[in-house]
Structure formats: C-alpha cells, structure tokens
C-alpha cells in the first residue's frame, strides 16, 4: 500500500489527518492547474475548494487500482469545465485576469533558483491553446498518463498525444521568442 492509499484510507475513515496529508501534498499541483486553466486566482481558489470537496463526497467511488492524483485531476478538470460552461467568462475579463496572474502568481514564500525562467515558462504556457494547455498541465503537473488524459478529456489517445506534441513545439517557440534557446 503506498502513502497515498494510507492517507486515503484515513480520509475515508473520517480522519482529518488523512485529508490534510493529501491536501498539503497535492494542493500546489492542483492549484497550479486550476490557476493556469482559468487565469484567475480567486476562481482557481474556489475551484480548488470545490475539487477537494467533490473528492471528499465521492471518495467511495474512487477505484483504488487507479492513481489518486490522476483521479483528483480528473475532478479538477470537471470543475473547470463546469466553471466555463456556467460562468461564460468574457474575453476582456480574462485579459484582466491574465494580467493579474503575472503579479499574483509569484508566491513570496517560494524561493526559486531561477525566478525569471519560471515566469517565462508560465507565460509560454499561458499562450497555448486551452486544449493543448490542459493536456500539457495534466501530464506535467498531474503526472497523468496519456491513456488517462484521453479518458479525462474524452478524446482518443492520439488526439491527446498530438495536443501534447504541439504544446511542446509552441512552448519551445515562445521560449525562443523570449531569448531561451533549446540547449540547456
């Protein structure tokens, strides 16, 4: 039994430590995903709360043979889709939010070896087509397998792979524009 399963069992049994353990372990990944998908910190925080609550409510439906984080990202994906379906975010609002991300995204408590590089990569991710961005984030933040991404996004696996390939090409292009070459 891995660590996630132990925490999950505690969580299922109603023990707060199980829930806190999983929340603290994965909140940055899920929040990063939601923030970069919605482009709005406040919305992302609401969706983060909804994601974990939905996971809590549906804990008994979790297939234990599956990866916990993939399952959690599947829920985060659904929350994001629901949000866009119901809220119909205006494009100008989104632009405001995107500007806001630039300033808000840097959490002061997080020390990074290369902060500017981090800023640049996130700008490149922001530029992606939403479908490419989602596949990219599910894979790189959630560590979700392509097979699972196809299920989450309800598309053939080849479509998911194609989106990822284009995402990487486009990120590379954006990085080049910002003076970062392929060789590191």
């Amino acid at each position: 039994m891995n660590e996630d399963q132990k925490l999950f069992d505690l969580w299922l049994g109603g023990k707060p430590s199980g829930f806190s353990g999983l929340y603290d372990k994965y909140k940055n990944r899920v929040f990063g995903f939601l923030l970069r998908m919605t482009g709005d910190r406040e919305i992302a925080e609401d969706l983060l709360q909804e994601t974990f609550l939905a996971a809590l409510r549906n804990a008994d439906q979790f297939d234990r043979s599956r990866n916990f984080l993939s399952w959690l990202f599947g829920i985060a994906h659904k929350r994001t889709i629901d949000f866009f379906r119901h809220a119909k975010v205006e494009s100008d609002h989104k632009e405001d939010a995107e500007t806001a991300i630039g300033s808000k995204i840097e959490a002061p408590d997080q020390q990074l070896s290369n902060q500017s590089l981090r800023k640049v990569i996130n700008e490149a991710v922001e530029e992606l087509d939403p479908l490419q961005r989602e596949v990219f984030l599910l894979r790189e933040l959630g560590g979700v397998a392509f097979k699972e991404i196809a299920v989450i996004m309800d598309c053939p696996i080849n479509t998911a792979l194609g989106r990822m390939r284009l995402a990487l090409k486009n990120i590379r292009k954006e990085l080049k524009k910002r003076g970062i070459d392929g060789v590191q």
Binding site: F31, G32, A44, L168
Partner: protein, 185 residues
Amino acid sequence: MACSDWEETALLYSSGELDEDHEVEFKSHIAQCESCKAFLEQYQKDRESLFSIEALGAAPSEKVDLEVKRVCESSKKQYTNIAVFPAFAKKSIISVSFFLIGFVVIGYLMINVQHSEVVKAKTIQTNDPSGSESNQMVNVAEILKANPDSADSINSTPLDSNRSFSKNRGNLDATGVVPVDLITK
C-alpha cells in the same frame, strides 16, 4: 511512420506507456534519426528544469488552506456516513459469503462423510482380513444353520480368488459380500 508519429511515441516512451515491442522499434528509430533523438532529449531536459512542480504549480493562500480544511472538517459527518456505509456493506458481503461458503463446505463434507462411511464399511469387509473373515464366518455359520446341505458349495466358492481380485484392482465393488450372495443362491 512519419517523424511526427515517432515524436508522439517519444511522449509515450517518457510516460512509461510504451510496450516492449514498440520500445525496441522506437529505440532503433532514434538511433538513426537525429531529429527525433533531439526531440526526446529536449523534452527530457525541459521536464527536469522547466516543467517542474515548483515552476508550474502554485500555492493557494493560507486563508484558502484553512478554509478548505475547515469546510472539509465540517462536512466530516456527511462523508463519514457515506464512507461508513460501503465499509459496512463490504463487511456484510464478506460475512454472507463466508456463511454461504461454510454451508457449501459443510454440505460437501457431510455427503463425503456419509459416502466414505459406506465405503469404509465395504472396505472393512473387503480389505480387513480379520474383519472379513469373521464376517464370512458368521455368514457361513448362519447359512449352515439354516441350510446344512449347502456346505459343499460353500467350500467351492471362489472366495479367495475374489478377494485377491478386488485387492489387485483396488475395486470396492468386488467384495467379500459377493460370495455370500453366491452361497445363498
């Protein structure tokens, strides 16, 4: 296969989703294709440096952490009920299953015991020399008492040959009872 397809294969290779046969094919392709090899190397380097959790992830505010934990804590009762039911159901299913399995096993054993008792009874008559002989003696005595004229036929019954036959075959049907039947005829 075009190089764009091989690049998608490279993605599956990186995520550990490529089966052995495809992995061999893929490796032989990148051994001779600079472009696909470069794509894979670049992706692997990017994953190590640029696509880290530190770079792509983001920390929610402490206020949100507390709020999420508080809301989840307050809904504890609700989810405990949800969580307890399946646990209870699971236990019930396990208990019922054990019960049913127990019934089947006991039933099977009882049938077997009955059967083996019959068999044992027959086996004793057949294989146990003292048992079978004493049985035969009783039988013979009774028959002689009832019909003294049949003594000759008793001596000529193929009792021993029958017994050795049954022993050799390990067959429980050919028993010492047979001669008795023969005697009565």
